[in-house]
C-alpha cells in the first residue's frame, strides 16, 4: 500500500488517519474535513508521480484505461458520488495494482467489505477514521 498513515497538524483540528485496505471509501457527516483532506493530498501530488487526485474539476478522464496502464499509484477521488460511473466503479473494485481513497457515500458498485467503508469523525480535535460497519 502506498499510504498507510496520514498525519497533519497545521490546523486547529489535526488529521490522524490510518488506512488498512487498498480501497477505502470515506463518508460521514458534512464538514468533517473530507475536501480539506483532498486538498492536502492534491498538494502532495504536486511533488509525487505516485499520487493521482481526481475530482469534479478534473478534465475528462478515462479512469478504467488509466487503471489498466498504471500500478502502485495512490488514487484519491473526491466528489465520487457524482463523477464515477458504474464502469469506473467496476474498474476500481477489480483493481489490485493501485490504492484508492474514495470520498463519497454511495458504496453501491464497489463490492466492498465492511472494513473498507469508513467515516471521518472529529474526536478530541482530531479527524480520525472510524469504521462504523465493523461494529454493527
Amino acid at each position: 500500500m502506498t499510504l498507510k498513515h496520514f498525519a497533519n497538524d497545521i490546523y486547529d483540528i489535526k488529521f490522524d488517519l490510518y488506512f488498512n485496505s487498498k480501497l477505502t471509501i470515506i463518508g460521514g457527516d458534512s464538514g468533517t474535513g473530507k475536501t480539506l483532506f483532498f486538498k492536502l493530498m492534491q498538494a502532495r501530488a504536486q511533488n509525487s508521480n505516485d499520487i493521482v487526485c481526481i475530482n469534479i474539476n478534473t478534465p475528462l478522464f478515462n479512469l478504467p484505461e488509466f487503471i489498466e496502464n498504471n500500478s502502485n499509484k495512490l488514487i484519491v477521488i473526491d466528489n465520487a458520488d457524482i463523477i464515477l460511473s458504474n464502469r469506473d466503479k467496476f474498474a476500481v473494485a477489480t483493481d489490485d495494482k493501485n490504492q484508492y481513497i474514495i470520498l463519497g457515500r454511495n458504496v453501491s458498485g464497489f463490492h466492498i467489505m465492511n472494513e473498507q467503508y469508513t467515516e471521518f469523525k472529529i474526536v478530541d480535535n482530531t479527524v480520525k477514521l472510524i469504521y462504523p460497519l465493523l461494529y454493527r
Binding site: D12, D29, S30, G31, T32, T35, I56, I82, G104, I122
Partner: protein, 155 residues
C-alpha cells in the same frame, strides 16, 4: 415545504452543488439568520464578511466561503434557490437534517439515505407522482422500497 425527488430527474435539476454555489455567490445573503444557522450547524462556521468565514479547522483565521463543505453549500443552495432541485448525494446526515428542518426548496435523492427526523411534512415526487409525507418512517420506507425495486429490476 421541501420537495424530494426520486427517479426521473426534473428539468431544473442541478448536479454540481459546489459550482452552482460559487457561480451564484452574489445572490446569497450570508448575514441571513437561516444561512448563519446552516453554516454553524453543518460546518461549525461563522460568516465574518466579504465572502469570508471562520471554521473549526482554523480559529481566528479567515478563509473563503469556497472552503465550506459541499453539504453546507448544498443546504444553502436549497434554501436560496427554491426554483431548482439540487443533488443530495454529497450531503452527510447532518446536512440532510439541516435541509429537511429548513423545509424549503427541492432535492434529488439518487441513492438510499439514512433516516432523518421530520419536523414538518415534505412533498415526495416519485417518478413525477406526488405525495405529502408527514412521518419519517413512511418517508424512509418509500425511499428504501424505491431503491429496492430499482435494484431488483437491474438484476
Amino acid at each position: 415545504m421541501l420537495t424530494i425527488y426520486l427517479g426521473e430527474k426534473p428539468s431544473n435539476y442541478v448536479k454540481a452543488n459546489d459550482g452552482w454555489f460559487m457561480q451564484h455567490l452574489k445572490d446569497i445573503d450570508f448575514t441571513n439568520k437561516v444561512i448563519s444557522e446552516i453554516l454553524y450547524t453543518i460546518d461549525n462556521a461563522k460568516y465574518i464578511g466579504n465572502y469570508m468565514i471562520e471554521t473549526r479547522f482554523k480559529h481566528n483565521c479567515a478563509t473563503l466561503v469556497e472552503n465550506l463543505s459541499t453539504g453546507c453549500k448544498t443546504a444553502i443552495n436549497v434554501y436560496i434557490f427554491k426554483n431548482k432541485v439540487f443533488e443530495s448525494a454529497e450531503c452527510g446526515k447532518n446536512a440532510l437534517e439541516s435541509i429537511f428542518n429548513t423545509g424549503e426548496g427541492g432535492i434529488y435523492i439518487g441513492y438510499e439515505i439514512p433516516k432523518i427526523t421530520l419536523k414538518q411534512p415534505v412533498q415526495l415526487i416519485n417518478n413525477m407522482q406526488k405525495k405529502i409525507i408527514r412521518d419519517e418512517d413512511e418517508l424512509i420506507t418509500e425511499i428504501y422500497q424505491f431503491f429496492r425495486k430499482k435494484r431488483d429490476e437491474s438484476i
